[in-house]
């Protein structure tokens, strides 16, 4: 106890250099924990995006690409699927349900997804949770929309609001479907998945706004009014992809082969779990590298402490001689220096953790808004606690170097200050 008080007072006496050392360790620890948390949340958020779907079918492409556009609404499909092929596969005896998806349009940067009511019935995320509406109800009319939670929140849209959909992913004025606005009919509860960033409309509505369009541009003189559109046959001719639920998991491979060998069109079927894994492995490289770098930064912080302690020994010779003279043994000196290193590492770890939480508190909402990545402010998880333990242990070990030196000095020089 007396040792600790002395060590603490000695540290306070050197608070500026010591403060810098602690700050360096704290920043490194905050970085390490931050990266670890980001990694964890990214992975769990990522894999929670879709569940309960056995297959995703799209035009022939790489599985990762298909996954990206159909689930994460990122990138674009190279090709579409004809409605007839879709219907035929949907009628396969092993298929229990399907959810057709059409993508390509957007509203103020948010992707528009055309689908049908089955989407609300069958789509599952996280641990098989269904979508829930926080307000209103699913669309039923042609020109009705259901907003993902973030869309409604960010754009402050309420039920009944009319929105205009832009053609393509960019919101360029002259390619808006402004002659056919959609009315907000429902707003989904938050899911912390890409669904939150999506505007859902019916396939018929999607078909209607593209009447009189060809190759992405409106044909002059071929425009139709909403009322005229409603009179037409709005059965889609093409969709971008569709989700498939089977009567048993075991049928997945059979059906995947069936789709991949489908004779009339070049199609690709993916198992979402497998594709998610592949994609994560791809991203995982970067994530591993980031983690490695943060460990290096921690190492640099501890090295800084080691070098500060080593160079301090020279200046603290008198302190050691005085302590020796009043009865401190060399072992006491060893403990003093080691304890000091441990204390600095501990302070750094505590401060770094505090810094992390401050960061999560202030930057968390920004990250969620900007990247759609939710980062929980929960307690420290076992991995994070292990990391902190490793940092403390490493601090203790790096303290051993100056401590052993000080011990030797204490034995050799004793009370000779060598003025």
């Amino acid at each position: 106890m007396a040792t600790l008080i002395l060590a603490w007072k000695s540290l306070l006496n050197r608070r500026y250099t010591v403060g810098l050392t602690v700050l360096a360790i704290a920043l490194a620890v905050a970085l390490l924990l931050g990266v670890e948390r980001l990694r964890y949340e990214a992975r769990s958020g990522f894999t929670a995006t879709i569940s309960g779907t056995d297959l995703i079918v799209g035009a022939r492409s790489s599985p990762v690409q298909l996954l990206l556009y159909s689930v994460f609404r990122m990138g674009e499909a190279t090709n579409n699927i004809s409605w007839r092929s879709y219907r035929q596969i949907a009628d396969h005896p092993r298929v229990q349900w399907t959810v057709p998806l059409s993508l390509g349009d957007s509203h103020r940067g948010y992707p528009v997804l055309a689908t049908n009511q089955d989407y609300f019935k069958y789509y599952r995320y996280a641990d098989a949770r269904p979508l829930e509406l926080s307000q209103g109800e699913p669309f039923s009319g042609v020109f009705e929309a259901v907003l993902g939670n973030e869309v409604a929140r960010e754009l402050s849209y309420e039920l009944g609001r009319e929105i205009v959909i832009a053609h393509g992913a960019d919101d360029v004025a002259f390619v808006r479907h402004d002659d056919m606005p959609f009315t907000v009919r429902g707003i989904l509860a938050p899911t912390r998945t890409a669904v939150d960033r999506t505007i859902h409309i019916s396939l018929e509505g999607f078909e209607a706004i593209h009447l009189g369009w060809q190759a992405g541009v409106p044909l002059p003189g071929r425009q139709v009014s909403p009322d005229e559109a409603r009179q037409r046959d709005l059965t889609p001719r093409q969709i971008t992809a569709f989700l498939v639920g089977l009567d048993s998991r075991a049928a997945s491979f059979q059906l995947q082969r069936y789709v991949n060998d489908y004779p009339r069109e070049a199609l690709t079927a993916i198992l979402p779990g497998v594709a998610l894994h592949q994609l994560w492995d791809l991203l995982g490289m970067a994530e591993q590298a980031l983690l490695l770098v943060s460990w290096f930064v921690v190492g640099v912080g501890l090295l800084g402490m080691l070098s500060a302690q080593l160079s301090n020994l020279e200046a603290r010779r008198r302190e050691m001689a005085i302590l020796r003279a009043v009865g401190a043994g060399p072992r006491y000196i060893l403990l003093l220096i080691c304890g000091e290193a441990l204390m600095l590492a501990l302070l750094g770890a505590v401060l770094g953790t505090a810094l992390l939480y401050a960061l999560l508190f202030f930057a968390g909402p920004l990250i969620e808004a900007r990247f759609g990545l939710f980062i929980g402010i929960g307690g420290l998880r076992p991995t994070e606690l292990t990391y902190l333990g490793i940092v403390l242990l490493a601090g203790l070990f790096s303290g051993l170097v100056p401590a052993v030196r000080a011990y030797r000095q204490a034995v050799v020089n004793g009370i000779n200050m060598r003025l």
Partner: protein, 244 residues
């Protein structure tokens, strides 16, 4: 339990040899050094003659290559390293030439520092924190450091003379039997040296402590009960003694 016996001499050394390195020159070769209880003795020797080295053997920080060091009747060689540290904490007070104080402790905390390491001296000085502080203040007052304002100053801002007196108070707190001072006056102004030594004498007499002071400066020699020339009792070749 390391112990000190009252009837034995304060210091009794025989055939002491010491060198810093295994194949280095002998720094000390003392056939005999004896100091009685309550004596105030002066050991003179030029710089580099091994005075501090001798003191490190007397305090049990260093260990002689051969020979016997008996302090207050306790043979130091018979004690383990940590026992020697304990013995030093319990029975010895030490004053350096300079930089005696830990800058991160208050004046009073510096004085009471030995009580953190020695239970015996803590109990001698009163035991409880309040009693310790009172004893510390009493000692400081005896050493002309009674001024309250002074005690609140950071110790680094004290004058050298004041610092040395604080060091004396620290060496004396808890009634150690032997006080060892390594050139305690060498950093003081000429006219302050005698006053310092007299204060130290007074307090040592009051506590019946034995005082050993080493210095290259012989101007204070006449105040002591006895004076020893290190060069006369140390049998090392004069070649290694470097004058500075």
């Amino acid at each position: 339990m390391p112990n000190a016996t009252l009837d034995k001499p304060a210091i009794d050394c025989r055939d002491l040899r010491f060198r810093w390195y295994r194949r280095g020159p002998l720094v000390l070769d003392l056939p005999e050094l004896r100091v009685e209880r309550g004596e105030k003795i002066f050991i003179a020797g030029p710089s580099g003659s091994g005075k501090t080295t001798l003191l490190s053997l007397l305090t049990g920080v260093g260990v002689a290559e051969t020979g016997r060091v008996s302090i207050l009747g306790q043979d130091l060689a018979a004690l383990s390293g940590s026992r020697r540290d304990r013995f030093r904490a319990d029975h010895l007070g030490y004053i350096f030439q300079l930089f005696n104080l830990l800058p991160y402790l208050s004046l009073l905390e510096n004085v009471l520092l030995p009580c953190r390491f020695s239970r015996r001296r803590r109990l001698n000085a009163g035991g409880s924190p309040g009693a310790l502080a009172a004893e510390g203040r009493r000692l400081l007052a005896h050493l002309d450091l009674g001024d309250l304002k002074l005690r609140q100053q950071p110790v680094a801002e004290l004058s050298v003379g004041q610092q040395q007196r604080v060091a004396a108070a620290r060496a004396l707190i808890g009634g150690p039997e032997l006080v060892i001072a390594d050139e305690p006056t060498s950093s003081l102004d000429m006219d302050r040296r005698e006053a310092f030594v007299k204060l130290l004498f007074n307090e040592c007499s009051r506590q019946q402590a034995t005082l050993v002071m080493v210095s290259h400066d012989r101007s204070l020699e006449h105040l002591f009960d006895r004076s020893i020339q290190l060069g006369q009792i140390n049998r090392v070749e004069p070649g290694i003694v470097r004058e500075t």
